[in-house]
């Protein structure tokens, strides 16, 4: 049913679902309005996002769920309650700009620790990602229970296994994560494109990563160089740490 929906999308301009093409016919327009009401009632009644599959099962047969929901989203665009998409599900949520009004009553939420937050961000931006990769990025072993608790919170999940030797388990985020942080999909994560462009979402240093010049401060380095040229490499390795004492 969802496939049918996508196919029909081509007739409709996303920005103006009320455009002339599909609604020329007054009967069709009335029919759409009634289907929109039904979708509105179903989604409004639920606190959880309602999947397009579930909607398709309850709306009149042959309804184009995506068109219906896009129209409904437009209707609620400027209201105190908005219709948001979470993956392939829909939910009504209070408008973001009214947060000042709402959050005074919010139950004090537990704050994620720095480690927990970092693992969550890495799982979100680098997914699918293995535990070894998370540890490589953070440069530290992930403490037992960090992944466990993030899974318990329902924000990250085991996705499957990487098709490489050893077949390590991969992690990624859930729809509950998208819902909690107000994202329609993973692509909407803030800064995703910049990070990709900068090559910062790869496990290895990409070849186009700008090789920095550690000699940016040539004065300082030149001094050190002169001083140390006579010293044998092996000795240097042994003596270096003691250089920090003075």
């Amino acid at each position: 049913m969802i496939d049918g929906g996508n196919a029909a999308m081509s007739f409709v301009d996303d920005d103006d679902p009320g455009g002339p093409e599909p609604f020329d016919n007054p009967a069709a327009r009335l029919h759409l309005a009634e289907t929109v009401r039904m979708a509105e009632a179903i989604v409004f009644a639920s606190a959880e996002p309602v999947s397009e599959k579930a909607l398709a099962a309850r709306l009149p047969q042959g309804s184009n769920v995506r068109v219906v929901m896009t129209e409904l989203q437009r209707v609620y665009e400027k209201r105190g309650v908005n219709l948001v998409r979470i993956g392939d599900a829909w939910a009504f949520r209070t408008a973001g700009d009214l947060a000042f009004l709402m959050n005074r009553d919010a139950v004090q939420q537990k704050k994620l620790s720095r480690a927990g937050l970092e693992v969550l961000a890495i799982a979100a931006y680098h997914q699918p990602v293995t535990r070894a990769e998370i540890e490589e990025i953070r440069g530290v072993e992930t403490s037992k229970g960090t992944l466990d608790l993030l899974m318990e919170t329902g924000w990250i999940r085991m996705r499957g296994r990487r098709r490489t030797p050893g077949r390590p388990v991969t992690y990624g985020t859930t729809d509950a994560f998208l819902d909690h942080f107000g994202l329609a999909e993973i692509r909407d994560l803030p800064g995703m494109d910049e990070l990709k462009g900068a090559g910062l979402l790869s496990t290895r240093m990409p070849s186009n990563f700008q090789v920095p010049t550690p000699m940016a401060d040539p004065g300082l380095l030149a001094d050190d160089e002169d001083e140390l040229t006579d010293i044998d490499l092996e000795e240097l390795g042994l003596l270096t740490p003691k250089g920090g004492d003075d």
Partner: protein, 267 residues
């Protein structure tokens, strides 16, 4: 266990303060390096890696002098940085197939930038309008709209938790494990992979390790474990080992498999 939830997150030691010399507030050596890099107060792209290496080594020395307990990761990183420093100071020899110090520095810089980027993104993420704090769902849901396909629900997490808990209950758990001197084989292996597994350069890790592991009784276990672990990694193609003669320095670098793993990961 409850490290997922913050309690006093901002109580991090300031490595510049002579009195507070402790690594307990840092999330590992890379975090410490990033913190030190920030004290240079310039963009990460313009920091002096050499100065950073120097800062780190001074810091670790100070910690060791105060005989504070320090995790093996920090010492391995110190060893690697000491090696990097020697590479940066000695001009590249002609006919030397090794990676230059500059290339090694670039990789370190990349890792610091990547970690910092993840920190920034984490901050942006938590500051978004969040469900249950800034944005709310219908407070009075009228019905449960369900998919009609299944009457019962359970998540993979529920399933795995139940299984692990049940098997654990049934297993005989009164096995006592002796406190390890320093490194188990697995620890050595994990640390090696994390620190040098993907480095393309020959690194004389053991030499620098000896320098940074203070207690003589620890040296034996560190060297034995890291050597055994490196052989295991060589067998798996994740690491290469080179020794120019008997009793000569042992060099390590990432093997072909280490590269392939990374490539497949981000196709």
């Amino acid at each position: 266990m409850d490290r997922l939830w913050a309690d006093n997150d901002d109580l991090r030691p300031d490595p510049d303060e002579a009195l507070v010399v402790d690594v307990s507030g840092f999330e590992g050596p890379l975090d410490l390096l990033l913190h030190l890099a920030r004290t240079q107060k310039v963009d990460l792209a313009r920091i002096s890696i050499l100065a950073l290496v120097e800062q780190y080594l001074v810091f670790i020395d100070r910690v060791r002098k105060l005989k504070l307990e320090i995790a093996a990761d920090y010492l391995v990183m110190a060893a690697w940085l000491a090696y990097l420093k020697s590479k940066l100071l000695i001009p590249k020899q002609a006919g030397d197939e090794e990676e230059s110090g500059e290339e090694m520095a670039a990789i370190l810089q990349f890792r610091l930038k990547r970690l910092e980027a993840m920190r920034d993104m984490a901050a942006r993420l938590v500051n978004r309008n969040r469900l249950g704090r800034d944005v709310f769902a219908r407070g009075m849901p009228e019905t449960v709209v369900v998919e009609t396909t299944s009457t019962y629900s359970a998540s993979l997490y529920d399933l795995l938790t139940a299984y692990a808990a049940q098997r654990q209950r049934q297993a005989i758990t009164n096995v006592r494990i002796a406190k390890r001197a320093v490194w188990s084989l697995k620890e050595a292996r994990d640390i090696l992979i994390r620190l040098v597994g993907r480095m393309k350069d020959w690194t004389a890790l053991d030499r620098f390790l000896i320098e940074y592991i203070a207690a003589p009784q620890e040296r034996a276990t560190v060297i034995a474990s890291s050597f055994a672990a490196s052989l295991e990694l060589v067998r798996e193609g994740k690491l290469e080992v080179r020794q120019d003669g008997a009793f000569a320095t042992i060099y390590l670098r990432g093997g072909p498999k280490a590269d392939r793993l990374a490539e497949v990961a981000y196709d």
